[in-house]
C-alpha cells in the first residue's frame, strides 16, 4: 500500500511537511523568547508571541519513553520513541528508533536523527548512539 504523507496539512504544520520533502526536520521556534514549539502552533505557549520562526534542531536527542508498535504480520515490531531533543526539556519528536532491539530498549539512551523514505516523503527516524 502506498501512502502519501501528510494526510492533512494546515497553516501551522505546512513548514514541517515542506521540510520533510527535503529530508530536513523543521520545527517551530519563537523568535521573541526562543522557545522551541512542537507540535507546531500558531502562537508561542511561553510568551504568546505570534512571531513564530522555523529552525532545524541539532538532531541529538535522548530516549524519554517508547512503545513497541506492531508492523506487518510475521515481521518484528518496531520501537516508536519519544525522542527528547537536547535543545529543550520535553521537546519531543515521536518517531521510529533503529539500532535498538524491541526486547532491550533503554530509556535515556542517546539518539541521533536521520530520515527514511516512506510513502513519497522523508520521515524522521532516530538511531541509537551519538553522531560520529
Amino acid at each position: 500500500m502506498t501512502v502519501t504523507w501528510p494526510t492533512r496539512m494546515d497553516h501551522d504544520t505546512v513548514a514541517y511537511w515542506e521540510g520533510l520533502r527535503e529530508a530536513k526536520l523543521i520545527l517551530c521556534r519563537c523568535r521573541e523568547c526562543e522557545t522551541w514549539i512542537h507540535p507546531p502552533r500558531a502562537c508561542c505557549p511561553a510568551c504568546w508571541s505570534d512571531d513564530i520562526g522555523h529552525e532545524s534542531p541539532s538532531g541529538q536527542a535522548t530516549l524519554f519513553s517508547y512503545l513497541i508498535q506492531p508492523t506487518a504480520p510475521k515481521q518484528p515490531p518496531e520501537v516508536v520513541g519519544w525522542a527528547e531533543l537536547v535543545e529543550q526539556k520535553e521537546l519531543f519528536v515521536v518517531a521510529p528508533v533503529e539500532g535498538m532491539s524491541f526486547d532491550n530498549v533503554e530509556i535515556g539512551a542517546k539518539l541521533t536523527l536521520g530520515f527514511r523514505e516512506q510513502g513519497g516523503i522523508s520521515l524522521p527516524v532516530f538511531s541509537a548512539g551519538e553522531e560520529k
Partner: protein
C-alpha cells in the same frame, strides 16, 4: 457545590444493558439509559428541562437533539454537548442546575462496539461508524506515519522507568476490579473470574500492558438526573449531593506528544475537590477510580492519596491476597461495581452510578456500610473530570 448558594444532587440513575452485543443501536442504548434515569428519578417527563450528552469522542454517539426528539422532551431550555470523558456530561449538568440554567437536567453517555474497535466488530454490518478523524489537538497527521502510537502507554513505560512500577502493581488494580465485577449482576464480566496468575500470564500487547489492562469494549449507555438538593427532598430517592466537581487540565495535553503530564492535572483536580468540599481522602468511604487502562488508574490513585511514585508500595500495603481486592488506608474499597475493566466501558460513567448506589444504600452485596462520601475521578489528560458525592 456552591454556585448561587444552592446544593445540587443526583436524583436519578439509569443504564442500558451492558454487553458485548446489546442488539440495539447506539441511539437505542442512549434512549434506554435516559428513560431509565428519568423513571428512576420520579421526575415527570415534561419537567425535564435540561439535557447534556457527549459527542466529539473517539467513538461517536448521539447528540442531545437526537435524545430530545426521540423521547419527546418538549420543555428543554438548556442543552449541551460536551467533550469526553463521560463524567463531563455530569459536571456540565451540575453547573447548569447550580446556575439556574435549568431545573432538572438529564445527562447521558453511550458507548458502542463500532467497527474500529475490533476485528469481530468489523464483520458486523450494523456496526459501521460515522467516518471522520477525532483529532482535537490537531496532531494526528504527525504521528500517522508511525501508526498513531498511544502516548498513554509510553507514559506508563516512563512511570515504570522512574519509579520501578511493575506488572504486579497493575495486576492488583485489574484483579480488584474483576473481583468486584463478580458481585455486579450487570457487569460484562459478572461470570468471569480472573486470578493474579491469569493476569500475569496474559501476553503483553503494549508492554507492560496486556489486553486485560484495557477496559472492556461494550454496547452500553448510562444517564443521571440532576436537580437542586431542595427539589430533591420532594423526590423518592435519597439524593447523592454534589460537594464539589472539577475538570482540571494542566501540563502537556497531547495524547501523542506529551501524554506524560496526566498526574499534574489529576493533582490539581483532586486538590480542588478537597479545597471546595472541605473534605479529605480520609473522609471517603469508597473511591471510584477511572480505569480506561489500569495504568491510568495507577496514577489517579497516586494523585488521590498523594503518593506520587509510591504506587508500588502503596498498592502492596492495600492488597488483600485472600479476597483479591484493594482496601486503601485499611478500609476504603475501589470501584465496587468493577470499574470499566470489570463492568464494561462506558468511559467512567459506571463510577458515577455506583457512587449513587453506595450513597443510597442499594449496592447489594457490594454495599459499604453507612457510606457517606464517595470520590469519583474520570478520564486522563487532557480530558479530566472528578466529583465528590455525599449521602443527602
Amino acid at each position: 457545590m456552591t454556585g448561587r448558594g444552592e446544593k445540587v444532587a443526583i436524583v436519578g440513575i439509569g443504564s442500558s444493558t451492558l454487553s458485548r452485543d446489546g442488539g440495539r443501536s447506539v441511539g437505542g442504548l442512549a434512549l434506554d439509559a435516559v428513560r431509565n434515569a428519568i423513571i428512576d428519578s420520579g421526575v415527570p417527563r415534561d419537567k425535564i428541562d435540561g439535557v447534556s450528552g457527549i459527542y466529539s469522542t473517539d467513538l461517536p454517539t448521539v447528540w442531545p437533539g437526537y435524545v430530545v426528539e426521540s423521547l419527546g422532551l418538549k420543555n428543554i431550555v438548556w442543552s449541551n454537548c460536551s467533550s469526553p470523558p463521560s463524567a463531563n456530561t455530569v459536571t456540565e449538568g451540575i453547573l447548569a442546575v447550580a446556575a439556574g440554567a435549568c431545573d432538572y437536567a438529564v445527562c447521558y453517555h453511550a458507548k458502542f462496539r463500532w467497527d474500529m474497535v475490533s476485528g469481530a466488530a468489523r464483520k458486523d454490518p450494523l456496526r459501521r461508524a460515522p467516518r471522520g478523524a477525532f483529532d482535537p489537538a490537531m496532531t494526528m497527521p504527525l504521528v500517522e506515519p508511525v501508526g498513531v502510537p498511544n502516548g498513554m502507554f509510553a507514559a506508563m513505560q516512563r512511570h515504570a522507568h522512574e519509579y520501578g512500577t511493575t506488572r504486579e502493581d497493575l495486576g492488583k488494580i485489574v484483579v480488584n476490579n474483576r473481583n468486584w465485577a463478580l458481585e455486579n449482576p450487570d457487569a460484562v464480566f459478572h461470570d468471569a473470574p480472573l486470578s493474579m496468575e491469569d493476569y500475569l500470564a496474559a501476553p503483553q500487547i503494549a508492554p507492560p500492558l496486556s489486553a486485560l489492562d484495557m477496559d472492556m469494549p461494550i454496547d452500553g449507555a448510562m444517564a443521571v438526573v440532576i436537580t437542586t438538593a431542595e427539589r430533591a427532598a420532594d423526590l423518592p430517592n435519597r439524593p447523592a449531593v454534589v460537594e464539589a466537581s472539577s475538570n482540571a487540565i494542566t501540563g502537556g495535553t497531547d495524547f501523542f506528544f506529551r501524554a506524560f503530564d496526566s498526574y499534574a492535572s489529576y493533582r490539581v483536580l483532586v486538590e480542588r475537590l478537597w479545597n471546595k468540599s472541605g473534605l479529605t481522602i480520609e473522609d471517603m468511604d469508597v473511591v471510584n477510580i477511572y480505569d480506561g487502562f489500569s495504568s491510568l488508574a495507577l496514577e489517579w490513585i497516586e494523585a488521590a492519596f498523594d503518593v506520587r511514585g509510591e504506587a508500588s508500595g502503596f498498592l502492596e500495603d492495600s492488597w488483600n491476597a485472600e479476597t483479591g481486592k484493594l482496601s486503601f488506608l485499611g478500609r476504603i474499597p475501589m470501584s465496587t461495581h468493577g470499574g470499566n475493566i470489570g463492568e464494561g466501558r462506558v468511559q467512567g460513567f459506571g463510577h458515577v452510578l455506583e457512587a449513587v448506589r453506595q450513597l443510597r444504600g442499594t449496592a447489594g452485596t457490594r454495599q459499604v456500610e453507612s457510606a457517606k462520601n464517595v470520590l469519583v475521578v474520570n478520564g486522563n489528560n487532557p480530558v479530566n473530570a472528578g466529583m465528590i458525592l455525599s449521602a443527602g
